[in-house]
Symmetry: C2
Subunit: 181 residues, 2 copies
């Protein structure tokens, strides 16, 4: 299902090439285009987070719990320090959420084998189930969206999204996101 032909998805760079020159039209048009992109990002991200929000509400969890479940699910045995690095919150903030997720049986801690100061985090079966429930609609939403763009659309989308990252943080983000077997 392609989006409507005209509006948001056109953005031909030289569309008003034939307009009168005197007006500062080119700059203004680019600015308009960019602001549209900014708002598109805002609205898309909001809808993107809405599916899990519904599920979370049922079980009395919030987005913070979601993030913990997700990144522990994705990185089994992750240390608390590494999780803090990803989430960029204080350990006190994490502690509260972590306690709740553990108390409710979605997550367990295991003392690190090599370094016994570490508390490595793992999802329980219930946690894995919850993660799947939460990630499924997002995956489906993203799958459809990527499929809706033409060939090469996914690569282009990723390029843009990746370039939106702070340059300094791209290597680390890549490390976190990509799992090589």
């Amino acid at each position: 299902m392609q989006p409507a032909g005209k509006g948001l998805v056109s953005a031909e760079k030289g569309a008003d090439r034939l307009a009168p020159v005197a007006r500062p039209r080119a700059a203004a048009a680019e600015e308009e285009r960019l602001i549209e992109a900014i708002e598109l990002l805002f609205f898309s991200y909001r809808d993107f987070t809405s599916d899990p929000d519904t599920i979370l509400e049922e079980i009395g969890f919030g987005r913070a719990h979601h993030r913990v479940v997700h990144f522990v699910g994705r990185n089994p045995g992750i240390t608390v320090a590494a999780l803090l690095d990803i989430l960029r919150i204080t350990k006190q903030s994490l502690a509260r959420v972590l306690r709740e997720v553990i108390e409710r049986g979605y997550l367990v801690q295991q003392t690190g084998e090599k370094d016994r100061r570490q508390r490595r985090l793992y999802l329980t079966e219930a946690g894995a189930e919850l993660w799947e429930r939460l990630v499924a609609p997002q995956r489906e939403r993203v799958r459809k969206a990527l499929a809706a763009s033409g060939p090469g659309g996914e690569t282009a989308w990723r390029e843009v999204m990746f370039s939106l990252l702070d340059e300094a943080q791209r290597p680390e983000a890549e490390k976190i996101i990509i799992k090589e077997p």
Copy 2:
């Protein structure tokens, strides 16, 4: 500055076409790709909001203030009801933020001409200046990111972002985002 050749931006659909068939590799690989996209969205959005956050902190405002300034700046004379529609928060939540933004002189209310129940919202000069300060780095970030993708990248990116919206809300989002002259 193109992202590193291998990692995030490859995603050729048939990359492992030649791999052994027995393993359920195709489905797993797609799942992996989609989860990477989900996390990319998460990290990119976080960095995307980080520039304004810095400025906002200086002046003791939060993201809520930003959103109000932005959408009033973008829609001069918008009514409170319309703003609530965009932000999808309660009027009590908006009221607090609105009051602060008005008290500090960034925004004014004007009784509607046709409907005198309405309080139409406008940025003051200080408000317009603030908006420009806030939007400038985001615009620049998005400009660079879109430019970093190949030709047609912007259109593809928009298609995907637009398709991430709830289908039911696409027409309204389009109405809000696009300003026709």
